[in-house]
């Protein structure tokens, strides 16, 4: 795999992560626990849609084959999507969604921080801008975790359940394949090892403040970056891509 191919695939990974996270957050529309939170969830979804668009455009531009951001988002299938498994997991209740958001935004925060030093100008610019957004997501979700853990018995139970269920998808965040090998060697991206170390420290700190316990036994599931997903992704894409697939000749 040459550098350009690797960069296209890496951009798609970043785009897909944001796109799927956004689509899941969009499911909360008019379903939030109260109005202000509904608005907050929409803001986060809009941040993610914007990130996805930027990276799809970059991938399309690099591909040089008349593809567009929309084609990349709406015409690729479940084996071509390269997002991590965590973001595609169904929303569950509000605690489940906030746990997902917390685990992911902590990851994105350190990833974008590292990518802000990339020698690829587009990636660098994208990371710098997106970093501000995910920092806010991290703040918002970690404060909710602390409320869950120190609120009522029910909120603690729900948050612990979410952690038990979602923890199995966190190793997947830090997987590396030949794309990473190529891009690390050229100074475009970074090894996940340092990101993982920072992530572990921060996540554990917040979970402790939220009285939550990391499960000892869990089956680790990985494969998102290689296009091996959970069954949930296909359904999400089915809905998201419906109009583009049903009317392939139409422009909207």
């Amino acid at each position: 795999m040459n550098t350009k191919e690797a960069l296209i695939n890496y951009s798609l990974r970043l785009a897909d992560n944001s796109m799927i996270a956004a689509q899941r957050l969009a499911e909360w529309n008019s379903c939030g626990p109260y109005l202000e939170e509904d608005i907050a969830l929409s803001n986060m979804a809009l941040d993610f849609f914007g990130q996805a668009e930027t990276m799809y455009e970059y991938a399309a531009q690099l591909s040089n084959n008349n593809s567009t951001a929309d084609m990349l988002a709406f015409r690729r299938n479940e084996r071509q999507y390269l997002n991590c498994l965590l973001v595609e997991q169904p929303n569950g209740d509000f605690a489940f969604t906030m746990m997902k958001q917390f685990l992911y935004s902590a990851f994105a925060k350190y990833l974008y921080e590292a990518l802000s030093a990339s020698n690829d100008e587009t990636l660098k610019g994208f990371a710098e801008r997106s970093l501000k957004e995910v920092k806010y997501h991290f703040r918002h979700s970690s404060e909710w975790l602390i409320r869950f853990g120190n609120g009522t018995e029910e909120s603690l139970t729900r948050a612990q359940y979410a952690l038990d269920e979602l923890w199995r998808y966190t190793d997947d965040l830090f997987c590396m394949n030949q794309i990473d090998e190529e891009l690390i060697s050229t100074g475009i991206s970074v090894s996940s090892d340092t990101i993982a170390a920072k992530w572990n420290f921060t996540v554990k700190e917040t979970l402790q403040a939220a009285n939550l316990i990391i499960p000892e036994k869990f089956n680790v599931i990985k494969g998102g970056y290689n296009g091996i997903h959970s069954e949930h992704l296909g359904h999400l894409l089915c809905e998201m891509q419906y109009l583009q697939r049903a009317y392939p000749d139409a422009k909207w």
């Binding site: 109005l35 202000e36 608005i39 907050a40 803001n43 409320r147 009522t152």
Partner: protein
């Protein structure tokens, strides 16, 4: 605690640019200070309107009433000597 609640109300003030005044925008509901600040940010700065936010519990606002209007504010009407144009300067005075 089975009774419904929408949280206490907070008044939101926004500074739209550095050095400018904090102006009242409206209200949000929130359970705590951090939540109030974030809810205000998420509602009132969607169009890039803000640089800084204050939130104040609504119950802390004290307001004058219509009945108080005359005695509170009318006495200031005839104090025009508080404005610069009240004073006659000798012709040709500069920088004053």
């Amino acid at each position: 605690m089975k009774q419904d609640n929408q949280f206490p109300q907070w008044e939101v003030f926004l500074q739209t640019k550095n050095g400018g005044p904090y102006e009242h925008q409206g209200t949000v509901h929130a359970a705590d200070k951090k939540m109030a600040l974030q809810n205000a940010r998420d509602l009132y700065t969607r169009r890039n309107e803000g640089r800084s936010i204050w939130v104040v519990p609504t119950e802390c606002i004290v307001a004058s009433t219509k009945e108080m209007e005359e005695e509170f504010f009318d006495p200031a009407q005839d104090k025009i000597y508080r404005t610069p144009n009240f004073y006659k300067m000798p012709k040709g005075t500069k920088n004053l």
